[in-house]
């Protein structure tokens, strides 16, 4: 009886920690937004933080004067919006620690890894996205990415709490396997990294748009404020590629691990169950993305679009397939 009580308490603590983290993520989001807004007030003409050399190669020499590198980078303290950005980062750490607590408590309350149903998979993935971002932030300044990380994290947590919530409980038998640990943790890392890759890709598309408008002599438009606070289009493109290239082998591994697990659980390693079908579709689209990057005429924009389609397939495989289709993978626990 005591054991049951403490498990219920832990589940309760977990829920409250998750709520608290959502609050903190919201604060972080506001801070990041303020940081952007302040950056915008400063100037509409300069692409200050961005690398002049590369920007030049994108828009041509005509606008070199417009794109001159300012001294902002050498005097980091003075950059407007920097304080808000720093606050955003600190709150982001706090929020992630709270979420970590929530995920651990959830795992303890059910006595197993915290990814046995959609709710748990979602909160753990949100943790994965945040951790991936914070780990990268230790090495380099990625505050400019904060906004685009915190939004999917909040959306994920929001859907988890509002739509997917299920009580803490032990696993259905089909999930009792070491492969749950391996397959699903790989999928969670993929979820985090795919999200980062997609976020950077979105930024890349925004920035190339601004660059094109500036080159055409139009105003930078409302993306301008954002574009001036992020790296150049080339760098974003590289970062998106590296992230997706890191995920692709891991995703391949996750799919293969899933097949091995399916073999031991259901007696066949591949059966075109909707989940398997969409995992395959996602895989093929990302393979197309990698090929597009190596094909002239497909580099850049079109490749980026394919990358986003791939991310869309990944998301659909998670939300769409779990909630719309019935299949062997219907263990979401959502009623």
């Amino acid at each position: 009886m005591i054991k049951v009580a403490s498990e219920t308490t832990l589940a309760y603590i977990s829920n409250n920690l998750v709520y608290a983290s959502m609050l903190a993520y919201t604060v972080a989001m506001v801070a990041f937004a303020v940081s952007f807004a302040q950056g915008r007030g400063r100037s509409d003409s300069s692409m200050s933080v961005r690398d002049t050399e590369q920007a030049q190669s994108v828009v041509g020499s005509a606008s070199v004067d417009v794109l001159e590198r300012t001294d902002v980078e050498s005097e980091p303290g003075s950059e407007p919006g920097r304080r808000a950005g720093n606050i955003g980062m600190s709150v982001m750490w706090l929020a992630t620690l709270l979420l970590l607590g929530g995920v651990v408590a959830r795992g303890l309350s059910s006595g197993r890894v915290p990814w046995g149903n959609m709710y748990e998979f979602s909160i753990t993935s949100a943790l994965g996205i945040s951790l991936a971002f914070l780990v990268v932030s230790l090495k380099r300044d990625v505050r400019w990415l904060g906004m685009l990380v915190v939004i999917p994290v909040l959306l994920t947590l929001g859907t988890a709490v509002a739509v997917l919530y299920t009580d803490s409980a032990p696993l259905v038998p089909a999930l009792k396997s070491w492969w749950l640990l391996i397959h699903v943790s790989a999928a969670i890392i993929c979820a985090g990294a795919f999200t980062l890759g997609a976020a950077v890709t979105v930024l890349y598309l925004m920035v190339t748009r601004v660059d094109r408008r500036v080159a055409a002599g139009e105003g930078a438009g409302w993306f301008g404020a954002i574009a001036q606070r992020v790296p150049s289009a080339d760098r974003l493109d590289q970062m998106a590629y590296r992230t997706n290239a890191f995920v692709f082998p891991l995703w391949t591994f996750a799919v293969v691990a899933g097949a091995i697990w399916a073999e031991s659980a259901w007696g066949r390693y591949w059966g075109w169950d909707p989940k398997e079908t969409w995992a395959f579709i996602t895989w093929v689209v990302y393979a197309a993305y990698l090929h597009a990057r190596a094909t002239a005429g497909w580099k850049g924009h079109r490749a980026a679009a394919i990358g986003l389609v791939g991310y869309g397939c990944f998301l659909f495989n998670y939300f769409g397939v779990n909630l719309l289709f019935s299949g062997l993978h219907s263990y979401s626990g959502v009623k």
Binding site: V172, P173, S264, W270, W272, F280, T295, G297
Partner: protein, 532 residues
């Protein structure tokens, strides 16, 4: 970067096909010309890209429409519900996407494209791997990464140091001796594994497809229901359903017998998920033929039993209520457990009993409830999957079971078209029903369980796994190894006694960290030359 020196220096960094060069207009070059053009188009990167996209799109209906392979019943229901579109979709193969000719056409084209692309690339790569790194471009300062510095030492010292440093880092090194007999530059290249990995990955995909196809053709899978206390032998006749591959031969079935001693299931007893299954296990005894030792085993949900390459998986279970049926004279017509098929998560189960030996023939249709509950609206239903309050509702029918017509009949269905219903009764374990019209008695003696096993042999699965592992290894090499070249040159104009040394490096566009690497090579060479 239109410097011819640099173009030469970067030549062969990849074996990527030059598909982006516009193909010559095939018109007017005859049949072979057309063929060559078609082949070149098919094996281009762009074709690979488009085929990959088509493959992704073609797979979508496989998830939105019910599929024959997994859900035959739903397919017929779908067609019945959509009398106009159903048959059209069916003809288009929408209910069997992954076996449809158009789906096969896409992936076979992709595989042909892949083979046609990879084999020449492999040949190129083979040559590249044995070739010397290309000569240093005339001006290293044109390279994206370059350094110039002055060192205390002779040109020969510098180049020897560079050679040693690069060799120690496992680069392939070429040192060019100028006609005058003096060394003038060192060229080095590394990261060949990138291309090797890429080719390995693509070849492994081909192997994977072959393994999956071969496994499907030579393998077989079947499903069988085994009641507690009974056994099944691995022969064709004992399966409830069996789907052999096209090249499967019945004599390939591994001989064995599995006897189900006991099936165990536990369920969540409280909370929101009350009734959710928590654990299943089947305790069995098996032997691999007469005269061989019997062995005990437990087959769990993620723990199949493997016997000589054939695997037995536990995929389902249900209840088999036990009955004794006697005729009016007291002769026993049936004394056995009868498999009832579950209809919902709480194991409300349907079943039939056929007694062909009675004259006239009789049959029963029934519903079994492991935990019976009553509701004014729904009537009887089961509220929990475990047999807490088992109850069975039976109807008795008299007439012709239709077994003699020669048409095969499901054992789970009673054809009541030429039968009449005589009565209905609900029974708890131990209760006896005296059948109407003096037909005899039926005793509901208790409940046993049965397990559903999938038995599968797939000789390709090991190969498929090996190919998948190779694919992942190749992919990782291909994405994480950086292919790059580095040159060290001492210009003729070098001032004595110091030498001016130029370093330059070139990588594929996706090779990050080249600048740091060049810095580290420069520092190592300086250390080696100047001894600091």
């Amino acid at each position: 970067m239109s410097d011819p020196g640099i173009d030469e220096a970067s030549a062969g960094l990849t074996t990527q096909p030059e598909s982006d060069v516009t193909s010559p207009n095939p018109a007017g070059i005859g049949a072979t010309g057309w063929l060559r053009w078609a082949w070149r188009t098919l094996t281009s990167m762009r074709a690979a890209l488009i085929l990959l996209f088509l493959l992704a799109v073609a797979a979508i209906p496989g998830s939105t429409f019910p599929q024959r392979g997994t859900n035959t019943v739903e397919v017929s229901q779908y067609i019945a519900r959509n009398p106009t579109w159903g048959p059209i979709l069916d003809r288009l193969g929408m209910f069997d996407v992954f076996a449809a000719p158009w789906f096969a056409a896409i992936y076979l084209l992709l595989m042909v494209s892949l083979a046609g692309c990879v084999i020449p690339r492999a040949r190129l790569h083979w040559r590249a791997m044995r070739a010397q790194p290309p000569a240093a471009p005339s001006r290293l300062s044109r390279l994206p990464e370059h350094r110039t510095l002055e060192l205390d030492g002779s040109p020969a010292d510098v180049l020897t140091a560079a050679e040693t440093v690069l060799r120690a880092r496992r680069w392939r090194v070429r040192r060019e001796v100028a006609p005058s007999g003096e060394s003038t530059w060192v060229a080095a290249e590394t990261g060949y594994l990138r291309e090797t990995g890429n080719l390995l990955f693509h070849l492994a995909l081909l192997a994977l497809l072959v393994a999956v196809a071969a496994g499907g053709m030579f393998g077989a899978k079947g499903q069988v229901i085994v009641r507690e206390g009974s056994a099944f032998s691995n022969t064709l006749t004992q399966y409830d359903s069996f789907s052999p591959g096209r090249l499967f031969k019945a004599d390939r079935l591994v001989p064995f017998t599995v006897h189900l001693d006991q099936f165990r299931a536990t369920y969540q007893e409280d909370g929101m998920q009350r009734g959710a299954p928590r654990d299943f296990a089947a305790d069995v005894v098996y032997s691999t033929g007469p005269g061989t030792a019997e062995r005990k085993a437990t087959i769990g949900v993620n723990e199949p039993l493997a016997i000589d390459g054939t695997k037995v998986f536990l995929v389902g279970h249900g209840y088999a209520p036990t009955f004794v049926i006697k005729d009016a004279t007291g002769k026993v017509l049936l004394d056995d457990s009868v498999v009832f098929l579950p209809q919902d998560g709480n194991f409300t189960s349907d079943g039939v009993i056929k007694i062909p030996d009675a004259t006239p023939q009789i049959g029963f249709t029934g519903v079994f409830l492991p935990t019976a509950e009553r509701d004014p609206v729904r009537g009887g239903f089961s509220s929990f999957p475990a047999p807490l309050r088992p109850e069975v509702f039976l109807s008795v029918w008299r007439g012709d079971l239709g077994l003699d017509k020669g048409t095969p009949q499901s054992v789970y269905r009673l054809d009541t078209s030429s039968m009449e219903r005589l009565g209905l009764k609900d029974l708890k374990p131990g209760q006896i029903w005296t059948l109407p019209d003096g037909l005899g008695t039926l005793t509901f003696t208790g409940v046993s369980e049965y397990a559903t096993f999938n038995v599968a042999s797939d000789p390709g699965s090991g190969w498929a796994l090996a190919a998948a592992v190779l694919a992942i290894v190749g992919l990782s090499l291909s994405l994480f190894v950086r292919r790059r070249r580095l040159w060290v040159r001492v210009p003729d104009t070098s001032p004595d006694p110091k030498v001016e040394v130029e370093f330059g490096a070139l990588g594929r566009s996706e090779a990050p960290g080249l600048d740091e690497e060049l810095d580290s090579v420069v520092a190592a060479v300086r250390r080696a030359v100047e001894g600091v």
